[in-house]
Symmetry: C2
Subunit: 302 residues, 2 copies
């Protein structure tokens, strides 16, 4: 439901001068007398975003921080503080709350972020954890989804697909990559891959009023995507395009400056996988030619 709802919500919501950029990007931008503030918010629900019995509460706390900081990274914002809200099942609420909090603390320490406040509730439902993260925007402007232009190169960090096998709980929000690339001035648009390469690429093209042509042979496929394909009935490529929660950066990079793009940052590869084009929609290119690409990853004859 999320897309239709967001479109409707955006229309219905008020706009006020303090909000520079509201509903519809990875984060909101709040105007300030000094640096703008970048704000993002995300909930994780037991059974949907994690299986508590399998991963344990520490991992939930870490994932919650990672998901939020990944949104800040996709706007090239510098994280400042997070706000944690817990809805804890009544049974062992104290211990559960403390362990999640410990995971949050460890992740915040890793990324030098303060825990500035929150809210704790005990209730009769399953575990829900919620976080709002606030960062400061870069002085030369934030990366938005709407900045891609035809001709810009499509660049992804890392390897894609199969995140459910483990990475969705244990990933590095790409703050270092954003920090390394921002000064180059070549990133025109960005988002993080949370819903899957196809869907998130579509988000950029819609926001930027353009299309994208992906070179299927260049998509960096993760080992986990290959492993997942052995039992899923999907190809590794379909996993790489369709799987969510990769939390890699997906960027539009100025073609005139593509040569300056490092091939990796801190051991994480950056890969050019295609080009933004003026013809709207998602398109795939491989040795068989150009075809429409399904955002959910279904690839003809792959």
């Amino acid at each position: 439901m999320e897309h239709g709802f967001i479109a409707w919500a955006k229309q219905r919501a008020m706009r006020l001068p303090k909000v520079k950029l509201g509903i519809g990007d990875d984060c909101a931008l709040m105007a300030s007398d000094g640096s703008d503030w970048v704000v993002t918010t995300d909930s994780l629900c037991e059974g949907t975003h994690f299986i508590l019995q399998e991963c344990g509460p520490l991992a939930v706390g870490k994932k919650l921080v990672g998901v939020n900081l990944s949104d800040l990274a996709s706007m090239a914002a510098e994280p400042a503080a997070v706000f944690l809200s817990l809805c804890l099942p009544r049974k062992h609420a104290d211990r559960l709350g403390a362990e999640i909090y410990e995971g949050v603390c460890q992740a915040c320490q890793d990324y030098n972020v303060a825990i500035a406040g929150g809210d704790t509730n005990v209730w009769d439902g399953p575990l829900v954890v919620h976080m709002t993260a606030i960062g400061t925007a870069r002085a030369q402007g934030s990366w938005l989804r709407s900045g891609a232009r035809p001709g810009d190169k499509i660049v992804v960090s890392g390897h894609l697909g199969g995140s459910l096998l483990g990475k969705h709980l244990d990933f590095e929000p790409r703050l270092k990559i954003a920090q390394a690339l921002y000064p180059l001035g070549s990133v025109q648009a960005a988002t993080d891959i949370s819903d899957g390469l196809g869907v998130d690429l579509l988000n950029i093209t819609v926001a930027s009023r353009c299309g994208a042509e992906v070179d299927l042979d260049r998509i960096p496929i993760s080992d986990a995507a290959i492993e997942a394909s052995q039992t899923s009935g999907q190809s590794p490529l379909e996993h790489a395009i369709g799987d969510g929660e990769d939390f890699e950066l997906l960027m539009a990079v100025d073609p005139a400056k593509i040569a300056e793009l490092p091939s990796e940052v801190d051991g994480v590869p950056l890969t050019v996988i295609g080009t933004f084009v003026s013809r709207t929609g998602l398109w795939s290119r491989n040795k068989r030619g150009v075809m429409q690409l399904q955002p959910r990853g279904y690839v003809h004859g792959s």
Copy 2:
């Protein structure tokens, strides 16, 4: 669990320069080059904070905004934007989400606040709604819990108790009162009454390292507290002291300026109910003398 947890969380949390005031007050304060930002976050869980079948989704949306803006009012902050996060039960998720959102929009319109972003999830649990509200701090400083001094008068807005009979779903966050009183410069400390007069007064005394002596005969008791007492086995006074979710302002006011305090703002009475004292703890004073007061509202022989 909330008090012990907060104390521990506060110790465990990192502090960074961007955070002027972290865990433990109604809101956090984030330093900015211009006005500071005031941030608060609250979740409402089905079955704990509302009975969805009884109140309907519109009221849930309105309550969510009210609870958050009440926190901003208690710091005398000016609301700027809210971020909404929904965890919707799978059945009728679309309709439920839209109706809650409509309630949020209506309340935001009433208080001139923007909806700047959010997150929507569908899951197999009951309804959880979550909001983070951001406001700007007043230039001369925010009202904190820690500013009360012995001799300051204890002042409350409105009438207290029995909120469960209806007010907890339909209340006015006291932004107008904060706006009217701030320029007087006489409010030394403040909080909103969310856990009950007794508990929230205790919160101020602990933060301010003082005590409070309440004149029981002066506590403004609501009609709802009287109504509730007819079936609850508690006295109206006990309801007024012990019931949560009144969302009235509780303030420490400079005694030298108490004469300038208006008796009401916009039809809502302001009542002096006692004095902050140097002896720590909560004390009650009535015709029978001074006694220790239980924060949860139990009053000897009342």
